[in-house]
Symmetry: D2
Subunit: 358 residues, 4 copies
Amino acid sequence: MNYCKGTVITGKNTMAISDRCPVPEEPCPTGAFIRPLIWSPCTSDAHLCATGCESLPYLLGKAVGHEMCGEITKVGSEVQDFKVGDRVIVCSVMPVWRSMEAQDGHAKQHQDNMYAGVDFPDRGGSFVEEYYIRDADMNLALIPEGVSLEQAVMVPDMMCTAFEGVRQLAPEFGSSIAVLGIGPVGLMAVRAAVLHGAGSVFAIGSRQKCFEVASEYGATHLVDYHNENYREQILKDNGGPVDGVILCGGSEKELSKGLSILKKGGTLVNMSAYFSGAPIEIDPAVWGFGYGDKIIKGVGCAGERLWMSRMAKLVACGRVAPEKLITHRYHGMDKIPEAMDLFLNHDRSLIKPVIYND
Amino acid sequence: MNYCKGTVITGKNTMAISDRCPVPEEPCPTGAFIRPLIWSPCTSDAHLCATGCESLPYLLGKAVGHEMCGEITKVGSEVQDFKVGDRVIVCSVMPVWRSMEAQDGHAKQHQDNMYAGVDFPDRGGSFVEEYYIRDADMNLALIPEGVSLEQAVMVPDMMCTAFEGVRQLAPEFGSSIAVLGIGPVGLMAVRAAVLHGAGSVFAIGSRQKCFEVASEYGATHLVDYHNENYREQILKDNGGPVDGVILCGGSEKELSKGLSILKKGGTLVNMSAYFSGAPIEIDPAVWGFGYGDKIIKGVGCAGERLWMSRMAKLVACGRVAPEKLITHRYHGMDKIPEAMDLFLNHDRSLIKPVIYND
Amino acid sequence: MNYCKGTVITGKNTMAISDRCPVPEEPCPTGAFIRPLIWSPCTSDAHLCATGCESLPYLLGKAVGHEMCGEITKVGSEVQDFKVGDRVIVCSVMPVWRSMEAQDGHAKQHQDNMYAGVDFPDRGGSFVEEYYIRDADMNLALIPEGVSLEQAVMVPDMMCTAFEGVRQLAPEFGSSIAVLGIGPVGLMAVRAAVLHGAGSVFAIGSRQKCFEVASEYGATHLVDYHNENYREQILKDNGGPVDGVILCGGSEKELSKGLSILKKGGTLVNMSAYFSGAPIEIDPAVWGFGYGDKIIKGVGCAGERLWMSRMAKLVACGRVAPEKLITHRYHGMDKIPEAMDLFLNHDRSLIKPVIYND
Amino acid sequence: MNYCKGTVITGKNTMAISDRCPVPEEPCPTGAFIRPLIWSPCTSDAHLCATGCESLPYLLGKAVGHEMCGEITKVGSEVQDFKVGDRVIVCSVMPVWRSMEAQDGHAKQHQDNMYAGVDFPDRGGSFVEEYYIRDADMNLALIPEGVSLEQAVMVPDMMCTAFEGVRQLAPEFGSSIAVLGIGPVGLMAVRAAVLHGAGSVFAIGSRQKCFEVASEYGATHLVDYHNENYREQILKDNGGPVDGVILCGGSEKELSKGLSILKKGGTLVNMSAYFSGAPIEIDPAVWGFGYGDKIIKGVGCAGERLWMSRMAKLVACGRVAPEKLITHRYHGMDKIPEAMDLFLNHDRSLIKPVIYND
């Protein structure tokens, strides 16, 4: 086992730069090493930090992070489609393709964990100097010509999650969609909804910066949820309940609110994670008493090379400008804790930070 | 306005035979009158009776009932495909086909109410001597040759609901399905799951009579939910969580239980109605913390002539034997209250009663 | 029966303005009369003219045309959602919603014919001064605020057809789509593919004017089919066969060509009409010898109020600029034959003409 | 390289038992060796023999065959779920799960060839004494308790193909299905259609033995295609065109015939292979002139461990009795040529032969 430099959580709200982040001596035959060129911290990294890795205790002292692009420095003997020097997007969820779940159409339900490789449990996350991945051909994607590092690093989670949610929602052409919560995933969901043919798109949030990006992404209605009648306003402006709802953030009570503005026969896609332990409570009346044909989907990030490649293709074709999400830029791993503090301090100017490894 | 004899709810747990059930003087041009030949009360009728029509106050004193087959006695001038004397299955939910909901693929979300016609709000239910329906061509279906009245009267709700739920579940060939609650709809869902290619079918209930029918319908595992480890038993017998769950009955806490035996990526179809006012509580952990790709569908009864015709065709072809559900038989409208008492008294030998109008 | 002025086909390649186009005296209770404000001729109108209505002999001497927007001048007693003076888009295909086909999810397979109403067979098309439609609530759509007449008249066929084809194709986000034939429907299909998340879009045609619009609509590759290696070029530029093919025009031999650039597991949507009587010939090798999982769909125009409303909503939200298709503008019904001549003369500057009724 | 005994094609209509069928010295880490217990020849094996391997020249002199069950004799170091002595069903098509096609939902479009392993091109088919497979965990399935060898050997092609076709057809409950061609795959498609909820099932063939099995599998109408009005008869008996068509055999002209009995909006699934080189000709009129919303799918056999396991589960649960297809039984590899002759001689008593390796 070798060790490299990385950014680790050391306790509640404390981080450090460590030089003891484990790396295997060699990649496995299908594996590769990647030297990061750019990182982006995520709300979930911040959540781990704020709780001192409460939900993933074994991660304490290991590297965090799962949004990264970099350059391949070594490939295993069986890697076919990538070579040293390739600049790649690294998958955050890493589905395992030789699995029964893959045969069942749900490869992403059998993953190499973001923070612990199946074959190398000590791995940790990708905020390191040298990152190991087990299946290069399946879980890397080339950064296409014309796509910047800033754009590319929005692919593995922001785009891969939001576009997966909208794929599962499958809006009809011209239908009305409400996006409840417009942090970075919600904003990307606005764009994805537009690119899946939505007509009216209600972006529901509270921060001016987010409303600006929502508009640029094609939202037709900007709704402040601090206005206590915001749901009535949506119903009025839309001429009735919306065709689809995307839930991106908020407490266990938001799901029922989302259902209350959804038409009978419509679908709500949840992209929030619920870790507080509190139950999700649904008011039966807003769910049609159980027989209103309202569908609720709890959707996780999709990954894999093909999906990432398709996301990158959308950027290359000019359909999506993911760099609009980036509000803060840093240089050098030592700045990662500072970037993380933006989340921990609830900085209202923050959408996404990136850190260049230079 | 004319009046006919019918069975009405007069207060909490009280019923009476009334001769003041309203009927229009003539059917509208697309409408028809039907003389019932057989009725079947439903749990929801019993619920209305037990609560004195609490959820539908205007129904107090009007006729109840929505499962009925009969003979056409009069048709409107524009009815094309039915004539006086035809023996027909009468739709319980009566979708309106000239509606935006129909154009949106959800005709059943715009209905003539079971108990109040859009054009004749005084109508009430079908436990009457003469029943009015507004759109004969769209919401009646001929009883095919070889299909008995007892079989036919299981179509409008028992089959139309259970098969709709399984259609929405769309089991894969050879997949494993758990049916949680095996009253009449749950039992029919067992049969529907088998007829949609399910392999293992877990029938979860408590009554011997229901287990017998479940077996005859193709259930492979009979599970007593009074056994406190019944979920562990299912996981063990199935070699892991099931591919799909159908929920047919139980309290607001059952949905979360259903999710706890469902694979990630699987679908739970709810066919229970929730009227108590209590919230449905979902434990986030059994829902993959919100991103486990578990889908929850709250499915209502489908109706309309085509769906009923297809259900009747399944009976005519020998694919389903719905008469197995019938445990009690009566003759004459005056016996309806007695049949209803089976529900109100929680008679453990009851699956479904029928009353012949002779 | 009344009569009004209209544009009729009088023989092979001959048209005339007639004042004997039949109109009922009153609309039926669900019907309406519409005074056209703008018309647009279609290739199929031109085909009828060129052949002297060979395929629809009863139309000879009756009005042609099916793309029109206008103002309501009279409504039947049961019309609920429209009133005199409303400016509306008129459906070209007019699905019948009280039908078994509608219950089967295929309302458009049971239509009032474009040129002959079910209840008024003498009707003819909509290039008349007063147009009768049988079901206003189901088959008209309001022109939303901010949508021009020129935009609106592209809805009933150009958008309703092309977007339906792409809906049936259901491109994945970032997938590659080839549109074979970029007349007005093909161009609109380019836009629809972009709005359903396509990445690379190959627009295959021959005319400069069409290539320009294709680019503006988001095509990433412009391919001249007069280049005899155009298919090899597509395979090369795309790095292999495309994910989906849309066929909009060409002879019976084009379908096999389309399949030859389609991946195994992909879908080809055909939107061409085949009237020559010649068989469509498929080379088994390009269809994977029958087991390559290539799907072929022969898709017809969708209509109905909801679909038209959703198309109009896309225009109102700025997602589609259908007026880009319009290359020629005229005023007065008398100019319709001149506009038709553009088609008959294969004018290479033509995409779509419109005629204002002023 | 080692060699074992196998059944090889030596020229047009000639076969031999060879002892020079190549086997690798060791399985690869994910691979296994299997000793066959039972084989079943397929029409496609017979086609290869009749043409002297014209379509696959490299197979001349190598073993044929792809329907086999056997016992594992050796496993590679990374095989997790199988061990020496396990009795298994061997996949015929062997999808490759670490592939872009798998990520695209079409794993079966990237296969180890039936007759030539990706990593061992000399392999040939499975009519050998020792068979090598590259990915045991992905492409073998345990034979469940209670399932006989005769039943199991019907899984890899007969069931896996027919059920895949019906899965792609996705019949609605109670819908009408026509199966055109009732050899063994067609018969299994009859059963699959019944198990996907079909109502009327038209089995179209000519041989008495096949009609008998069709009846036992649930066909409701037996139709002799030698009756020249058989299509009119189907339309009459069904009260109109059928909801779905499955095509299992016949010349390039059958597809158009199949479309001629299919409703607008319906789907035809083709499971025939077309090797003659002649074009498939479609009469535009029966395809709705290209816009009748009739879908044509050319479906190939699905394989993989999960699908085979689900097929075997259907047998274990008593839903399918695949042994009904078996009309001829032999013992010993030396009898394989005799079994093949049944096909070559067009024996009218033949549905499927099996040969025990004892």
